[in-house]
Amino acid sequence: MKRSRQAQAALLAAAGLALWFLLSNTQQNLESRRIASGFAFLWREAGFEIGETTLFAYSAADHYLRALAVGLANTFRVAAIGVVLATLLGTLVGLARLSPNWLLVRLAAGYVEVVRNVPLLVQLFFWYALISENLPAPAEALNPLPGVFLSNRGIFFPLPGDVPALSGFNFTGGAALSPEFATLLIGLVTYTAGFIAEIVRAGIQSVPRGQVEAARSLGLGRRDELRRVVLPQALRLMVPPMTSQYLNLTKNSSLAVAIGYPDLVSIANTTMNQTGQAIEGVAVIMAVFLTISLSISAFMNWYNRRIALRGLAP
């Protein structure tokens, strides 16, 4: 016991020494390069425009803190919509892989193989090239459904009582998705859905065959069999891996920086380039994502306990 206490004390001392070494180096470097430290820069004028904003109004005259808040809101927007759509698409694909239809099974399996085996960044670049190079200009926009327009300036769709219409060089009215947002959303949703599909399939297959047979012998239809017997049991197994997929989607939304969607990471990146305060910039990114990760996993742990079988839980 005494030896282990000494070992731990030595570990602590070594960590402290390393930290002191790094900090003193950093201080010297910052001084010699005349980089300020601390978070005072947050209240200075940002001086750059942001292409699209969610919730907050923003102009270049606002301070960095507001710019970062706009970035965070943009991250939340793409992550929230992405999680919902990826769950829907993933569940559909996962169910398709279990359907009796051979063609559907092959199609779903092929989809899963392709999206899981290609880096998300490659897929994002592919979608961005497809949207920005191959969709027509707004004047010749594709119009697949009434009121929905696809063009290289983005995707436009109608809201109740507000239909997008061409005016000048672009559409006005309705709701619009910028090419960058559309790219990021499509990329994140199709990529994550491939992983969710496998979780759904594994979850449903984990339900013992006898349960399905019992449901059939009770005369339940396929829908009731899924809804009342299979899914409630499968769900328990699916919650932990689903949580980590939701977290992955949120973290992957940081790839926005590569295609120019102004999420938190790309705004923090611009901030770092302008102020030179790299440590603070990276600290902001890490703190935000850690908070998101820890709070989602705390929520999911609570939910997991709630749906666990009483008396069977370990």
Binding site: S4, Q28, P100, L103, L104, V122, N269, V282
Partner: protein
């Protein structure tokens, strides 16, 4: 006929799904194939032929293939990264066979990597010296992934053991590290290495960009691999520990001879899966300005003469990454089925 009935038209919804898929295939597959194959331009001396054609411009890949594969490596020396790529791929394929999992495999790797280092850097045997900054393309992606795992794996074993240790300070440090890294996006770790790390070093010491990115990838991969190794450690029954302790083994002897050999064998399939994810993640070094495979493809598109062929270029990137990842995931499935024998026989 029976097969068709049972597998495609077993019920009304199933029949509808079949018909819908067939309709979509008839509507969209012919135009796709004529774009990708029949109307495509396969080779052209200049981009004009591509701009006039209706189909895909694969000539772009042909025109740029040297840059895509080797980046800014000196042109007349391209045989060196090409040979290094072949050696590295051979090492990977050679190590995939479980009958080669012997002590001398490490020696084979050491020799192979030494050879690759000699080829890439040169400076000896009449090979001109080529600095890291000029490395690029496929070999860079493969090297980042290889060295990432080579260094991350031992680190991850230490982290996993630390996380299950009985020493509270050590355990807290390992848990903190693993959860911190797994909680943040890779891009922030890469930013840390590319913009923060230079600030941490004493004056006069600098590490080049490639090594900084490699360090970030190692630190990142170690946290994820550690969780896989921990899964393997947890699967080892208590009595194995008890038996080793009853024999008077010390902690390290117990881990080295009894627990880890079993735990690591159990974790091989999930380790391969984690490695696939890591291989895909190396593409993010593009964001901090390294010339990996994806980056060379993206830069090729910036040539104004050949701009506008992004769909073709990224489809090619998809195919290239898919080939590697699919091979690895097929291998992982083969291991999971116990196809390699050794996984089951010896545990």
């Amino acid at each position: 006929m029976t097969w068709l009935r049972r597998n495609l038209f077993s019920s009304v919804p199933s029949a509808l799904a079949t018909l819908l898929i067939l309709w979509l295939a008839i509507r969209y597959l012919p135009p796709f194939f004529s774009w990708a194959l029949f109307d495509a331009v396969w080779s052209a001396p200049d981009p004009r032929a591509c701009r006039e054609a209706q189909g895909a411009c694969w000539a772009f890949i042909g025109e740029k293939h040297r840059f895509i594969l080797f980046g800014t490596y000196p042109y007349e020396q391209h045989w060196r990264p090409a040979l290094a790529t072949v050696v590295l791929l051979f090492l990977w394929i050679f190590s995939a066979f479980s009958r080669h999992w012997k002590w001398w495999l490490g020696a084979v790797w050491a020799a192979g990597l030494a050879g690759i280092g000699l080829l890439m850097w040169g400076g000896m045997l009449g090979l001109p010296y080529v600095e890291n900054e000029r490395w690029g393309g496929l070999i860079l992606t493969l090297l980042l992934a290889t060295f990432g795992v080579a260094f991350a794996f031992p680190l991850s074993i230490l982290l996993a053991l630390g996380r299950r240790s009985e020493l509270p300070v050590l355990r807290a440090a390992c848990v903190g590290y693993i959860e911190l890294i797994r909680g943040v996006p890779l891009i922030s770790v890469l930013f840390m290495a590319s913009v923060m790390l230079p600030l941490f070093l004493p004056a006069g010491v600098s590490i080049d960009k490639l090594l900084r990115a490699q360090l970030a990838l190692v630190l990142f991969a170690a946290a994820y691999l550690a969780e896989v190794v921990r899964g393997g450690l947890q699967a080892i029954p208590r009595h194995q520990h008890d038996a080793a302790e009853a024999l008077g083994f010390t902690y390290w002897k117990k881990m080295r001879l009894v627990v880890l050999p079993q735990a690591l064998r159990l974790s091989i399939p999930p380790l391969v899966n984690t490695f696939i994810g890591f291989f895909k993640d190396t593409s993010l070094v593009l964001i901090i300005g390294l010339f990996d495979l994806l980056s060379t493809i993206k830069v090729s598109l910036q040539d104004p003469a050949w701009s506008g062929f992004g769909v073709e270029a990224y489809l090619f990137a998809c195919l290239a990454y898919f080939a590697f990842c699919y091979a690895m995931s097929a291998y992982s499935r083969h291991l999971e089925r116990g196809g390699s024998g050794r996984l089951l026989r010896e545990s």
